[in-house]
Amino acid sequence: MNKFKFDWLILPLVGVLIVLSVWHGVAGKKIFVTDAAGAIIEEKRIGLIPDLPNVVETWTSSLPYIKEPFAKRGEMDQGILRFTWYSLVLVAQGYAIALIIGVPLGFFLGLSPTFTKMFDPLIQVLRPVSPLAWLPLGLVLFMRAGPEAGTYAALFTIALCGMWPTVLNTAVGVRAVPQDYLNVGRVLKLSRWKMLTKILIPATLPYMFTGFRLSLGISWLAIVAAEMLTGRPGAGGFLWQEYNALIYEHIIFSILTIGLVGLILDRLMSLVEARFKATS
């Protein structure tokens, strides 16, 4: 029990403390230059990286956003959970599109060697492309879509980047369906539809869920790029806006929020995945 606590609580806390102190050590600090009479004549920042906010500054400056997580003071000045919620909604939509396109694509790739030979090289080329590169293309594609063009471009980017793990894992899963299971289907002369729903899909599900989890991670990764370039309110849009507004504390705050939410999403998906693998 003690060993457990040590491994899972003490050690991670030590790690966090080390990083925080390094951060605090290199970060800047505000000082006031006073004249002989003690009146402030200048305010300046000193330190190794003077413009990097330190831990205390980041904490005090972020506190209002944490204390009132659902506040809405203006379009770009809202509580952090409200921002996170906007981002989650956008990601959920893009992610849904990624799955709807990715799963059938994965099945085609897994089932047809010809299809694989045709499209696999292309997929390998498109897969490593960053969301930052896709977004401008999305903006061009939906340029004539009216006021919602930014949203469409963001969805396009999230879906396109998030799709690949689902596509590839599904394809691998379909190829890995044991020949024995397929033989059962052949002996029974199952129709194509039954073969798919009764044998192929259940046999591929564990692989698909691994793909779903990885896809969600990437979709979340793409959110910052999508919101930054389209200026939407959200965890990523807030980050970019605060950079432009010179409130650097909030950049760090946003990064931490995005990271934490990403972690939570991944853990949730792992739970679903584990449940699925246990029951199938």
Partner: protein, 272 residues
């Protein structure tokens, strides 16, 4: 009398990285309707290969297989297959596994009738109490029982069994052999079963087909087993003839299986 299953000059060649490998060559065999035939041979000689060609799961390279007057070109539910490993679909319960085939074959029957067929066969193999469990919750023996129920429930023209009891302990094995015999006698099926258990072959079959070692395996010899049915193990064990046949099979496996017939002047027994 015309044969129910007629295999003529069967050849199977697999492409391998080291060139084509002819696993089976010049394999001839005929089965009468209602006959129970076992095939024995050393591991890797090609028994499963032959069986899967009859099942239509694997293409023949040469020769023909004719079942009830029709050439076998594809798999179908007219041949009930019990696989070497009881490959039940793990996401379905035992009942659903059996139903999958029943829905397919008895598509004109009502839902109730189909359920009854499944329940009937599952209880025949002794799974009445565990039919709603998934394969993961069943023992090896129970899974194999389910595999047998699945094959029989479709009332196929013919049963193809690939070492169905190979992985079981002897008590379960004896019990399932009797289950199989009962079903076979009741439904008057024609059955072809692969085994490498000499006692199992003698207890179950009308004829034992002995295969020579691969590559290019073929029928080395055929032994008639004329014990009256229904048989009991005890009755067989008390019969001196049983030991003579057993000795014959073991001698084949130990000595003669290494040679293709003809090469050493021992032609395959004509199978009348």
């Amino acid at each position: 009398m015309s044969k129910f299953l007629e295999i003529t000059q069967l050849v199977k060649t697999f492409p391998t990285p080291k060139g084509p490998l002819t696993v089976v060559r010049d394999f001839d065999l005929g089965l009468k309707k209602g006959e129970f035939i076992t095939v024995i041979g050393h591991s890797g000689c090609g028994k499963s290969t032959v069986l899967s060609m009859i099942a239509g799961l694997s293409d023949v390279t040469g020769g023909v297989i004719v079942l009830a007057g029709k050439e076998v070109t594809n798999a179908g539910p007219d041949r009930g297959v019990v696989f070497q490993a009881p490959c039940l679909l793990p996401w379905f319960t035992a009942f659903e596994n059996v139903m999958l085939g029943i829905d397919q074959v008895y598509y004109t029957a009502s839902k109730l009738e189909r359920t009854q067929i499944a329940e009937y066969y599952l209880s025949l193999v002794g799974l009445a109490d565990s039919m709603h469990k998934r394969p993961g919750e069943l023992s090896q023996g129970m899974r194999q029982r389910c595999g047998i129920a699945r094959a029989f429930a479709l009332s196929p023209k013919m049963l193809l069994l690939d070492e169905p009891f190979g992985m079981l302990d002897s008590l379960t094995k004896f019990e399932l052999q009797d289950v199989l015999l009962n079903l076979w006698q009741r439904d008057q099926k024609t059955a072809l079963m692969v085994t490498h258990d000499v006692d199992e072959a003698l207890y179950l079959s009308d004829r034992v087909v002995m295969m020579t070692d691969g590559p290019e395996a073929t029928v080395g010899d055929i032994l008639e087993v004329k014990f009256p049915r229904p048989r009991t193990r005890r009755q067989l064990l008390e019969d001196p003839e049983y030991y003579r046949l057993r000795e014959y099979l073991i001698h084949f496996l130990n000595e003669r299986s290494h040679h293709r017939p003809g090469k050493n002047g021992q032609p395959a027994l004509a199978h009348a």
